[in-house]
């Protein structure tokens, strides 16, 4: 990705929007904006260089999950926010390693309840990859980011919310057929 692409993200809000609308270049920007700082966190927590790579990846994925929360809003600048997540991951890992039950005054971090089933993996690996690009986009905005049909219609240039709704229903129907065929 060129620097010109990076200039498209002139604010943290534009980065969040790019994530929501599936801009493929945005993750490179997110990575580069905070990589050094997360490596600093890793260094201070005696995390090896290789493990620091994993820390960066886990941090960015956690960030992505946060962005999907309906009420999500960046409460600090993006790199600061990411470093906070990285620190939290380090702290949790450290706690797990030590297996110490110390009195903790911090609130429990948000639990990662993401535990996809075999069928979800099937949807991800086979069914969605075969479905049309537009289906992927519309379903992503609807199911992951909980956008309304009006917002989706605006974003994807549909004439109105009903058209978008019909398109979504068609996509779901196709996927449903393949899903239940697989399940049987």
């Amino acid at each position: 990705m060129t620097n010109q692409n990076h200039r498209l993200y002139n604010s943290d809000e534009s980065v969040i929007n790019a994530i929501k609308y599936g801009d493929e270049n945005v993750w490179e920007y997110v990575y580069k904006s905070s990589e050094h700082q997360i490596r600093n966190v890793a260094l201070r927590n005696n995390v090896s260089h290789e493990a620091a790579d994993d820390l960066i990846q886990d941090t960015i994925i956690t960030f992505f999950k946060r962005v999907m929360e309906p009420q999500f809003a960046l409460s600090s600048e993006l790199p600061t926010f990411l470093v906070g997540i990285a620190k939290n991951i380090c702290r949790n890992n450290l706690k797990k390693k030590r297996e110490l039950r110390i009195e903790d005054h911090t609130p429990e971090p948000i639990e990662d309840n993401f535990n996809p089933s075999r069928e979800a993996h099937k949807i991800s690996k086979d069914i969605l990859r075969k479905s049309s690009h537009i289906c992927g986009k519309i379903l992503r905005l609807y199911y992951l980011f909980k956008m309304s049909m009006v917002e989706i219609a605006e974003q994807l240039d549909y004439s109105n919310a009903n058209t978008a709704k019909n398109q979504k229903a068609k996509c779901v129907k196709k996927i449903r057929e393949q899903y239940f065929a697989y399940a049987e």
């Binding site: 050094h36 994925i61 600061t80 906070g84 609130p107 069928e119 949807i123 991800s124 779901v172």
Partner: protein
């Protein structure tokens, strides 16, 4: 056979839009209707499947970037000419930093490029006499020198910053070009810095009627300083904390004595400023126990009581006396 209304009903469930009554009804249907239950599972799997696609894409992108960086690093470390160039650049930067300490001038200018970014594991042999009394070392070795854009300083401090990371203590030192200050991560906060927080947030505190709370907004960040404690030994400690959803920290910053705060070369505590975030506190109670000399700070945040015990020896001096 499920109809469109049923589908919409399930979708509303996943959007957490059902009322208590509807939720109860929903759960009954999941228990009793096989087809309904299967559709709920389908939608959950569809949503998870979509998320998996995104997560896989993120992982692939990051892995490719990391592999690319690894290649670049390998090539660089095998090129002696580049090593020499980078080492020379580092020496220049470190030298500038060194002279900034020797000839401290509050309004002086330090010529650093806007954005120098040099990192190389081969710098272990190079060192600088950066504020050696920090750790009673004559010198520290640095393996990482770079400029950073924002480490949470107040907006008024239009500065460029370079960071040096030493290999002995694995600490970072931040040098600010126009104020010529050293920041040692994990050390103490400067008097000026705290005062800045104090002044900026006094008004905000009054508006929000928050007792003993200072928060300083800085590009969306906020730090809360709860108490300044003067100890029997003459040292000061400041208790700060910040939190945001799943991010939270609290820490005590120590000053050896008042003179320490006014030192020509000030040391700044910055570590946690990386994760300063905005939050609200409803109430703070201060309770003391004579038995074990522990102060408990009780914070009522979002209706949850959080108690932070702090060891102390003598006097409590609230930052803001009502």
């Amino acid at each position: 056979m499920l109809n469109d209304e049923d589908i919409e009903y399930i979708e509303r469930y996943f959007k957490s839009e059902l009322s208590d009554k509807e939720l109860k009804h929903f759960n009954e249907r999941v228990q009793n209707e096989e087809e309904f239950s299967a559709e709920v599972k389908f939608m959950k799997d569809l949503s998870d499947g979509l998320m998996l696609v995104d997560i896989e894409n993120i992982k692939t992108t990051i892995s490719e970037l990391q592999a690319k960086e690894f290649d670049i690093r390998s090539k660089k470390s095998n090129d002696p000419r580049k090593n020499f160039k980078v080492a020379a650049s580092v020496l220049v930067l470190v030298g500038l930093a060194y002279f900034s300490f020797l000839f401290t001038q509050p309004n002086g200018e330090m010529k650093l490029s806007d954005r120098e970014e040099i990192s190389n594991e081969d710098f272990l042999d190079y060192y600088a006499h950066i504020n050696p009394d920090l750790k009673e070392e004559k010198s520290l070795h640095f393996n990482f020198v770079r400029s950073v854009e924002n480490i949470g300083l107040p907006d008024s401090e239009k500065v460029r910053i370079i960071s040096l990371e030493d290999t002995t203590y694995r600490d970072s030192y931040y040098l600010i070009d126009n104020t010529i200050k050293a920041i040692e991560i994990g050390s103490v906060v400067s008097y000026d810095f705290r005062r800045d927080y104090h002044e900026r947030d006094n008004d905000e505190r009054n508006q929000n009627k928050r007792n003993y709370v200072v928060s300083q907004k800085n590009g969306g960040n906020a730090l809360v300083i709860d108490q300044l404690i003067l100890h029997e030994s003459g040292s000061y400690s400041v208790i700060v904390h910040s939190l945001d959803h799943n991010l939270m920290f609290e820490d005590t910053l120590w000053f050896k004595n008042k003179e320490n705060l006014d030192r020509h070369l000030r040391i700044y505590w910055m570590y946690e400023l990386f994760i300063m975030t905005e939050f609200d506190i409803e109430r703070i109670n201060l309770t003391t126990s004579k038995v074990d000399s522990v102060i408990n700070f009780e914070f009522n945040i979002d209706n949850k009581l959080i108690t932070i015990p702090v060891n102390q020896s003598n006097k409590i001096v609230p930052l803001f006396q009502e």
